[in-house]
Structures are given as structure tokens and as C-alpha cells.
């Protein structure tokens, strides 16, 4: 029970970050049917910029919250600029090209950004300075830290804010109209290119914050962190139904939970000595001990397991619409 609740808390924390990153994938996919593989790199750049600023300010004696906020405030515009530039320079010239061309370009942009980050920040890991008093609360046998609470709260706020933007504002309506039919949106006076650029910029801003949260949670940031985080968030977006905004939120949280619970139980489940007949076969190796095949270091496997299962059994995702609905 303890493991279950604890992993629920951990999964919810990671999952809410995945959800925010997944929004960046799903918004771009929804509007131009492009899987922007470079989005994970935007998240990484957000974390790197924020960590650089936070490390520079940490000795200054400012309140920790202010330091983190300033770091985030620096990361957001940088990521927005990166998001805008990639759309403007890499993807817009390929509008109307066969779908494979922008997809491969996205992979190229991803590699480019990752290596630029390596040149700027080196291969070394940036560590989050010890400035936060991380209080731990105990809740029905599971512990939750103040950082976890903050991460979940910020993610919920971001998702709520995005939902308001997409479903309640003129820009949001234009985004949804463009996603459904860019030609007609243009005929009605919507500057489609601007709406697409705005989508990239908004997704990048969300990614920046997600990068800071993710880095803060694990205490480190590195130029490679975007690839695995990006792939997981992409899996989350597919799980929820790529192109579907509530789907990305749901998919992210579910993926975080699956991953955490999987990591929590995989050790017990793959302990060969726990199975009577195998234990008999193994003989003395099991005398009062364990023989664990897969440890929680296998947790990354679950995201891709989920991806495969979804693609096989429900390619349109949990909340995805039928593909035929797209005009």
C-alpha cells in the first residue's frame, strides 16, 4: 500500500510535467500535422538557461523562490525565441512539402539544438543549487515534498491557462479553426502563418517552464535531457490522442502514473525467488534472498511500452478523433 501511494504521488508529479511538455507536441501536431521532435530540446534549453541563471543568483542571498522565478522568467523568452525561429526558418519553408520532409527536418533541428547546447554549456551536468528547504509532508503513508506540490500546482495552472487560451480567446478560436481547415481560416481573414507561429511560441513557453520544473525535481539538467523527456512526452501525447489538447493532459498524467507504478513494482514482479517453482529450480541462490531481473532503472521502458500498446490497439489515442474527421 505504501509503495502504491508513494508511486502515485511520484507518478503524478512526473506525469504533470509530461503533460505540459506533451501539450507542445500536440498543439503543433494539431495545427500542422508535424511531430516536432525538437520540442524536447526546447524543454532542455529552458532548463539549462534557468539553471545557469539560478546558479549565478544562488550565492546572492535572494529568497529561493525569487531566484527560481527569475531563472524561469529568463528561460521563457529564450525558449519562445527558439520556438519561433525553428518554425520560421526550418518548418515554414517546407509548408506544403510532403510530410516526410518536415519530419526529418524536425529530427535535424533536434540534433542541431542539442549540439548547440553542448557547445554553450559543455557536456557537464548543471546541478540545482541547494537553496530550497524541501519540506516533506506525510500523507496516509506516502510522503510528498513541497517541491512536488509546487510542480503539480504549477502544471495544473499552466494547463488551465492554456485551456482558457485555446477555448476562450480569439487567438485560441483561430488556432482551432486553422487546425481544422487552414484554407478556409485564411479566407476568413486569419493570418495562418501567424497563428502557427503563435502555436510554436506558446508550446515553447510551456516547455520552458516544464524544463525548469523537471530539472528542479531531479536536481540536474544536461544537454541530453531533452531526448528522453521529449520521447516520453510524445508518447503521452499519442496515448491521449495526438492533436487533442485534453488528451495530452490526460496522457501525460497517465504515463507518469504507469511509469511510476511500473518502476515501483517491477522489482517485486521480476524477483524470480518470489515464484515458488523457479525458486526451487534456483536452489540455494534463493535462500532467503532475492534474484531480481529488472530493477526500477527499467522505468523508461514503460513509456515506450505504452506507446507500442497504444499504436497497436488504439492508434487514435484515448481521446483522439477519428482521422476521417479531418478535412
Amino acid at each position: 500500500m505504501d509503495t502504491f501511494l508513494q508511486q502515485l504521488v511520484n507518478g503524478l508529479t512526473a506525469g504533470s510535467v509530461y503533460a505540459v511538455v506533451a501539450l507542445g507536441y500536440t498543439m503543433v501536431y494539431g495545427i500542422i500535422q508535424l511531430i516536432n521532435f525538437a520540442h524536447g530540446e526546447v524543454v532542455m534549453i529552458g532548463a539549462m538557461v534557468a539553471f545557469t541563471v539560478i546558479n549565478a543568483l544562488a550565492p546572492g542571498g535572494l529568497p529561493p523562490l525569487v531566484v527560481v522565478l527569475v531563472g524561469t522568467a529568463c528561460a521563457i523568452p529564450v525558449c519562445m525565441l527558439v520556438g519561433y525561429s525553428m518554425e520560421r526558418l526550418a518548418y515554414r519553408p517546407l509548408r506544403g512539402a510532403p510530410r516526410l520532409a518536415p519530419l526529418i527536418t524536425a529530427i535535424g533541428v533536434s540534433i542541431l539544438l542539442q549540439h548547440l547546447a553542448m557547445l554553450v554549456w559543455s557536456r557537464n551536468v548543471l546541478a540545482f543549487p541547494q537553496i530550497i528547504q524541501n519540506t516533506t509532508y506525510t500523507l496516509a503513508g506516502a510522503s510528498i515534498t513541497s517541491v512536488q506540490i509546487a510542480i503539480i500546482a504549477v502544471c495544473i495552472a499552466l494547463m488551465g491557462g492554456l485551456a482558457l487560451l485555446v477555448y476562450r480567446t480569439q487567438l485560441g478560436t483561430a488556432m482551432r479553426a486553422t487546425a481544422q481547415n487552414p484554407h478556409v481560416a485564411g479566407l476568413m481573414g486569419v493570418d495562418v502563418n501567424r497563428v502557427i507561429a503563435a502555436t510554436f511560441v506558446i508550446g515553447a513557453a510551456l516547455g520552458a517552464v516544464a524544463g525548469v520544473l523537471y530539472g528542479t525535481y531531479y536536481g540536474v539538467a544536461q544537454y541530453t535531457m531533452g531526448s528522453i523527456l521529449g520521447l516520453k512526452a510524445f508518447s503521452a501525447a499519442v496515448l491521449g490522442g495526438i492533436g487533442n489538447i485534453p488528451g495530452a493532459m490526460l496522457g501525460g498524467v497517465l504515463l507518469g502514473l504507469v511509469e511510476a507504478l511500473g518502476a515501483g513494482y517491477i522489482g517485486d514482479l521480476s524477483d524470480l525467488c518470489a515464484y515458488g517453482w523457479i525458486a526451487d529450480l534456483m536452489g540455494e541462490q534463493c535462500d532467503g534472498g532475492h534474484f531480481i531481473l529488472f530493477g526500477s532503472n527499467y522505468q523508461d521502458v514503460f513509456a515506450f511500452l505504452v506507446l507500442i500498446v497504444v499504436l497497436v490497439f488504439r492508434p487514435s489515442g484515448l481521446l483522439g478523433e477519428r482521422v476521417g474527421d479531418r478535412a
Binding site: 478560436t173 479553426a177 478556409v184 481560416a185 476568413m188 481573414g189 486569419v190
Partner: protein
Amino acid sequence: MLLEARGLEVHYGGIRAVKGIDLAVDEGELVCLIGANGAGKTSTLKAICRLIPSRAGMLRYRGEDIATSPVHALPRKGLVMVPEGRGIFRQLTVEENLAIGAYALGGGDPEPQYASFPRLRERRKQVAGTLSGGEQQMLAIARALMTRPKLLLLDEPSMGLAPLMVAKIFEIVREIARQGVTILLVEQNARLALELARRGYVMESGAITLTGTAGDLLHDSKVREAYLGEGVA
């Protein structure tokens, strides 16, 4: 002259879909463009509102050259098209569809549209994909009217509608014209179009083969034979 095209050409790959046509619409007119399937009517409309590029020719709207204007700039100038097949945003509500129509003006009041189309008011919170074909056509027209157009391009508004609904839609078009909006109407239903319009153009495999007042065209033997389904008397 509100709209003037000279030598307008549209190519798809190596195919000349519109072969250098001349066309003019005066302020306050209701002009129709009729012709068979594939004659180039829709291509002409699409070229006028810059949805597809024209290869050659001159295109002027209120004296201004619009041949290089981006698509989204035209509604702001008062030129808007209701596309073939209506092109409503099926997953947006009626209200949101109308809001997109007002996007060019930075927002607008849908009230006048609800007043002319009470059905849309009843369904304003409904997703547009759930409307009937006729209601969708009304929505497409209402959405275009939200841009407060001077020149309205209508592409086959009767397509796929029951006869009763076609009559209703044409009544709406007549009413819009009566309110002073200039209309260029593309129709396959030549008789209805000519009964409504003041002037007409007949298009045939990418060229304009005949033009005149609607009355003359209605009585033209070639038109009667080819487009009104009557043998030559």
C-alpha cells in the same frame, strides 16, 4: 468598377484551368458565373481571393492590384468568399464560426446575423458539424457576412441541398444583394442563377464564351440547350 480581372490565367501543373479570362463586377451588381463541371468557375473564384496563385493577368479590386495580396488580407478589404462545400469549421460551435468571420475586423457582433438567421441563434452553442446541410450553408454565409463584405463571392451555394432549401438560400442571396452587397455567384444551377442575377458569364473549358444580361442569356438558344436542359425550339 469594384472588381476587374483581365487575362486571368490559372494553371495546375501543366494544365491551364483558366485561360486568360476577362471579368468585371460593378458596385451593387449581382453577377453570376455559370458553366459545367470543370469549366474553371471555382478556379476563377479561388484565384480572385488568392487561395490559388494566378499565372498571368491583372486583378484589381477597388482599383487596387490584389494579384500579390495574401489570402488573409482580403476580408479586411471587404472581399470574402463562401467556399464550395461551405467550409464551415465542423468542430467549432456556431458562435465560434461566426467569431472567426469577425476575426479580420478584430471582433464583431453576431446579433445582425442571428436576426437574419434565427436558426443559427437557436443553435449557437452547438457544434457546427451537427447542423443540417442547409443550416451549414446559412452559417457559411453568415460567417462571411461577419466580415462586412463589399464583395461576396459565393461558390455553389445550392450544392447538395434539397430543392426547398435551395430556394431559401437563393432568397437569402437576393436579400443580401438588396442590402447593397455586391455578389459574384458561381452556380451549376444556371436557371436559378440567371433568374437572380443581373448579368452573367458563361464559362466553358477555362474560357468565357458568352456574356450578357441575365435576361438575354436566359433566352439564348445555346445557353438553353447546354445549361437549361432544353432542346432548341
